[in-house]
């Protein structure tokens, strides 16, 4: 049944259909046609908690506001709206369908905020218990920036109350990890382990994976594999790599803190390490202990390669996790717009609002820090140890960015996934706490989109050097959405130990087999293979065969030995650069310097040096398979428009956007491949089929910039005409002047 009501909000100016049927009548007709059971196609292990109907969902079709009737359900996985309208069966819409949730489904963990609409007021809902009146409208803001308006006005009162309470309870109230859908889902689905991800992803859950990695980068460190039962520390992964001089005794001292964990080795032999820092600054009995321990660790880092070491306490120069959260909460609000009016009102001060949120600036800071680290490794060939309190937030951001800039392997789809496995999943990033999917009150403080910040930074890099990345922008957007789909083990736990202990607990009540949560890298869980084609960047320039020969770095090692001072530490020639600190003397001295440097160290000097490094790099010919440095000048950092603007109809370019070229390129690539295939076949036989090429040549003109996430629905597209005050007031005498003052002159 299809019914349309007059504009449900926003701008009532456009005369639309007027309903002459009262709500009661609608209810009756609804009953009469004995509403057939409306169920979504439930996933394995999915259970419906409650449902209500008829519920009105207001949608914007090509800028016109209209409403759709349907049923609202809440299951243990999602809030789902089942439209009474026939689903759009457009081929294009099906093309990029997510198998777990559709366009009218909101995974419970994807809900960001819920607002209640009381008549014309909007109130943030924090609990399911409402004193007086239940809201007649529910507005759901999602973490993937979709916005849903549901009206409960026509549902039966107790139904409305039930669904409202149900949704609020399941989306916002604290819950235990076991209630997350992944657990019911994992029980009911059997994953075939063999069906591993298409691009091979290294999971880093075996010692072989680590051994392979250190071999690949020609690192010279030792693999620790006796943490398989987490006996060394629950904070560390089962397998990890440390400098060879770290002893077994060192490992067990401070519960994993202070141990330099190897991340990646540069071809010159120097390497990047990260660690959770010990509270060195405290003046208590244990601090002396910490200091001497740290000194030993730095020695170990240095002696491995007889290089100088630079340490960098990331919390000194980068925003805190709280800053990141605060900035992002401000930033995302710009994209959760109720109506057209809001869109144009916020357009006037768009740039200063963006700047005010600081989000782009935080991305810039992270990229700049990564460039600094790259500079140390590439130019000065020093070992770098980055640290922060837990060693699993900004350490992960910076170390992964550094590796992405250096290593073309990580810019392939499989390599990128392996990198996330290595640095984030095994590196113990606290995904569960940072996402706070459980809505625990005591974890609210630790909620922060750190992983998203990393993806944003990757997007900026990819934007600047598209041919260097095998994965597409769409891939990054989908990955950022997947964080909030509570099905994947990847983002469900705080550490490998956390995951292992939960899995073990699950196993105890005599189960047949261990629970198998899919990892996010098994993309077939979400998308069929045709949709997965969108993950590939058609601009990617594959390394040609002759390039593949390993680059020999002609940096003679003995030279280093010659210049070594008797102490393990080498004086770095560029002492002027105080940002990453040289370990030139005892730790005590270092600490003093560090304290001073907080005040003395003008970040400008480091900036100038980094800029010089960038300019020197820029002078060399660009190699998409070599080192990549991002340009960080103001105009080059941009808004990730696909992620943030895809659901806003006013911001969609019909028939335009970068998708028009990307699609054309993808088509062309496929065509070349077809022809090549034909050529191979033709060599032996006469058949030739032109059809594939013809069928593919579907025009990109019918797409919009939000493709593949949204499709323009109707053929008659209306442009978005700005409304409201267009000008921020120009108070200028010039505005009153006449165009032509001296008409005589020709």
């Amino acid at each position: 049944m299809l019914s349309t009501l007059g504009g449900g909000g926003g701008k009532p100016a456009k005369p639309s259909f007027v309903s002459y049927v009262t709500p009661e009548e609608i209810n009756q007709t609804e009953k009469e046609c004995s509403r057939k059971e409306k169920h979504p196609d439930l996933l394995p292990g999915e259970v419906i908690f409650c449902s209500a109907g008829p519920v009105l969902k207001s949608i914007k079709d090509d800028l016109f506001q209209r409403v759709v009737y349907g049923t609202l359900l809440c299951t243990n996985f999602r809030v789902s709206f089942i439209s009474d309208e026939a689903p759009s069966d457009e081929e294009a819409a099906q093309l990029f369908k997510n198998k777990l949730y559709g366009e009218n489904d909101i995974p419970l963990t994807c809900v960001d905020h819920i607002y209640g609409g009381f008549d014309d007021k909007k109130k943030l809902i924090i609990s399911g218990f409402v004193k007086n009146k239940y809201p007649s409208k529910i507005i759901v803001c999602c973490k993937d920036l979709r916005l849903f308006h549901f009206s409960l006005a026509y549902a039966k009162e107790e139904d409305a109350k039930k669904i409202f309470q149900g949704i609020v309870y399941h989306c916002l109230e604290p819950k235990s990890l076991k209630c997350v859908f992944a657990f019911s889902y994992g029980e009911k689905t059997l994953l075939n382990k063999e069906n591993q991800t298409k691009p091979k992803t290294v999971m880093f859950d075996t010692s072989e994976d680590w051994a392979q990695e250190i071999k690949r980068t020609k690192g010279n460190c030792k693999l620790i594999s006796n943490n398989a039962d987490f006996s060394i520390s629950a904070k560390l992964p089962q397998f990890f790599i440390v400098p060879t001089h770290v002893t077994q005794e060192d490992l067990t001292k401070f519960d994993g803190k202070g141990i330099p964990i190897w991340c990646w080795s540069h071809h010159s032999g120097c390497a990047l390490f990260k660690t959770a820092s010990l509270p060195l600054m405290q003046e208590d009995a244990s601090s002396q202990l910490y200091k001497s321990y740290m000194e030993g660790m730095l020695n170990a880092v240095a002696q491995t390669h007889l290089y100088s070491v630079k340490t960098e306490e990331l919390s000194d120069s980068l925003p805190t996790v709280q800053d990141i959260q605060q900035s992002y909460s401000k930033f995302k609000q710009f994209f959760l717009l109720d109506n057209t009016n809001d869109f144009w009102m916020t357009d006037v001060k768009w740039f200063s609002s963006l700047e005010g949120s600081c989000w782009l600036d935080i991305i810039r800071q992270c990229l700049a820090k990564a460039v600094e680290v790259v500079e140390c490794l590439e130019k000065e060939n020093t070992n770098v140890l980055i640290m922060e309190e837990e060693g699993s937030d900004l350490c992960c951001v910076i170390s992964s960015l550094v590796q992405l800039m250096f290593d073309p392997y990580y810019r392939t789809l499989g390599g990128f996934q392996s990198l996330i496995q290595k640095e984030w999943v095994m590196g113990g990033h606290r995904f569960l706490d940072r996402c706070n999917h459980l809505h625990l009150k005591d974890k609210e403080q630790s909620q922060a989109p750190v992983f998203l910040l990393f993806l944003e930074s990757v997007w900026q890099l990819q934007q600047q050097y598209p041919p260097a990345f095998q994965f597409s922008e769409t891939y990054l957007t989908v990955l950022s959405d997947s964080i909030d789909v509570s099905v994947f083990s990847t983002f469900l736990f705080n550490s490998p130990h956390h995951m292992a202990s939960i899995a073990k607990a699950m196993l105890e009540p005599g189960q047949r087999s261990p629970v198998n949560w899919p990892t996010v890298w098994d993309w077939s869980v979400q998308f069929d293979s045709r949709a997965q084609d969108f993950f590939i960047n058609p601009l990617y320039m594959e390394r040609s065969r002759q390039d593949k020969a390993p680059r020999k770095m002609p940096r003679p090692k003995h030279q280093r030995h010659q210049s070594l001072p008797s102490s393990a530490f080498k004086f770095s020639p560029s002492a002027k650069k105080g940002f990453l600190k040289d370990e030139t003397d005892s730790l005590k001295k270092m600490l003093r310097v560090k304290r001073l440097s907080r005040w003395m160290n003008s970040p400008d000097s480091a900036q100038a040096s980094t800029r010089e490094f960038f300019v020197a790099w820029q002078r060399r010919p660009l190699d998409y398979h070599g080192l990549l440095l991002p340009c960080l000048e103001g105009p080059t950092l941009r808004l990730w428009s696909q992620r943030y603007l895809r659901w806003i109809p006013e911001a969609q370019i019909f028939g335009g956007g970068s998708i028009t070229i990307l699609k054309k390129l993808a088509d062309l690539l496929a065509e070349v491949q077809d022809l090549r295939g034909n050529l191979d076949r033709q060599a032996c036989r006469a058949d030739f089929n032109h059809q594939g090429v013809v069928a593919r040549a579907k025009s990109s003109i019918q797409l919009s910039s939000a493709f593949p996430f949204t499709m323009p629905r109707s053929r008659s597209f209306k442009p978005a005409i700005p409304i409201g005050p267009l000008h921020s007031l120009i108070t200028d005498s010039l505005a009153d002047q006449e165009d032509e003052e001296n008409l005589g002159i020709v």
Partner: protein, 635 residues
Amino acid sequence: MEKSGSADSLGSKRSSSRQPSVDSLTSTNTTRSDRSAHLRSAVSPDAASARTDLGAEVLKESSRIAEGELQLLPRESVQDTASDVTYICPFLGAIRGSLTVTNYRLFFKCLDKDPAFVLDLPVGVISRVEKIGAISAQGEVSFGLVCKDIRNLRFAHRYQEGSLKKSIFELVNKFAFPVSNALRMFAFEYGQPFPENGWKVYDPLAEYKRQGLPNESWRITKANEHYDVCETYPATLVVPANIPDEELKRVAAFRAKGRIPVLSWIHPETQATVTRCSQPMVGVNGKRSKEDEKHLQAIMDANAQSHKLFIFDARPPVNAAANKMKGGGFESEDAYQNAELVFLDIHNIHVMRESLRKLKEVVYPNIEESHWLSNLESTHWLEHIKLILAGALRIADKVESGKTSVVVHCSDGWDRTAQLSSLAMLMLDGFYRTLRGFQVLVEKEWLSFGHRFQLRIGHGDRNHTDADRSPVFLQFIDCVWQMTRQFPAAFEFNEFFLITILDHLYSCLFGTFLCNSEQQRLEEDLPKRTVSLWSYINSQHEEFTNPLYVDYANHVLYPVVSMRHLELWVGYYIRWNPRMRPQEPLHQHYRELLAKRAELQRKVEELQREVAGRAAVAPPEKAGSPAGSPVQTCV
């Protein structure tokens, strides 16, 4: 053929500049000198076109360009050379070298650096030469050159006191401002022949014929053949069929500067039209003109699809009202029945000039990183761009979706009106998005309809504070660029084409943008005495074409005019900053793919032929059997 030092497409040019890897501190100027070379090459079509004709010899020529040799154009002559001049580069610091001034260009080179540093610009881009400060302790004087293309150059050189020799910058002053110094512009000297004559690109009758004109409702009139109806209008006009020529004169009396409502574009299906004019001379007393009212009624009646007419007044309502004091104003809806008046809030030329001045401050030479976005916002530049695009969008929407005819005007109908009508036509008609179609658009809506280029740019005029100068045409090109960003496959031309147009807007090498009107151009005999920019461009059009172009045919483009999609044109406004790495040339990759496809297609055909030949000799075993044909799956 590989071009080394000359006009390749913007992107690929820059990437090739990266090829020589020099690890010295000085080589930062690869980019810079390269860009100067690039500008130069854009400016020296002789080298480029000769190359297409003469192959090998030209290779030598272009390699000499790379070495930093001055390549003179036909009838370009060196006026003076001063050695020991210091160019104070805001990015690289002081560079010592020699400075040469010709009757066309300023050429600075420093060969001590590796690769050589070259700065090569037409003196036409200079808007102001000023001496900065007094003679320094080292006996040096500083000169600042303010340029129209968003950069300032600063030089210092030793000043020989008492010597009779004049400073070389006095020569710059002389040749940069030929109009003020009663000299001929270089465009009149330059006589490079090109295989195509660009002055023939636009033939009004052919263009109107393309649009299906004349038809039963619209006629082509020669009433303005002698420019006596309106001296700033072209000779050929399209007016409603039932308005006789003698009435046009009476309408002209009621429109500012006699700029009567005439047709710019007609919708091929609905017959809805875009017409343009100047403001009506309503004045404080609300004067009316029967003929003007009849004229607009006729415009409306010519479109059977709609019984309404939209009048878009580009100005803010306050300014439109203020014009009544000077005899102008706007149409009252009482006098013009069935007409609806809409104001588009676009500001005047002075506001635009000031906005560009602020923008230059923000982007040149250095960008303040932390406040970039708010600084950009404070210039209002993109806000003006947004308003112009929004205006054009509303016009295009009314014509396309509303099937309603529109009348566009501002005060005089040659600045904002030209912006709006041409942008609306660009959205509505795919022809104007081709390389040649765009030339027709510029020739028609801007040049023939009397946008006062001479006055707005101030070609060769020393008076840099002239209030008549304004970046109106630059704004139009910026708007076009914004559209190409949003629809990267819908335009046949590329970014380099737009930049080349802007470079030659100032260079005074070509006659295209000289003078203020068609009448003046004919008086000056420009088509005979000067070369058209389009001659140069069309002689090597592959440099300017977008390989990603898909013919959108009749598809109407509606750009999104929100700040979320508008961006500053880095490739133009910030191109002098070597740290701003331009977007990598995807086009290059695309060209490779196209070549690969062509090659594979050829191979397939070859093999097919071969197989067919073989089949003719011996019957094929299973050829053509359905089981054998590979089924393609499509993406």
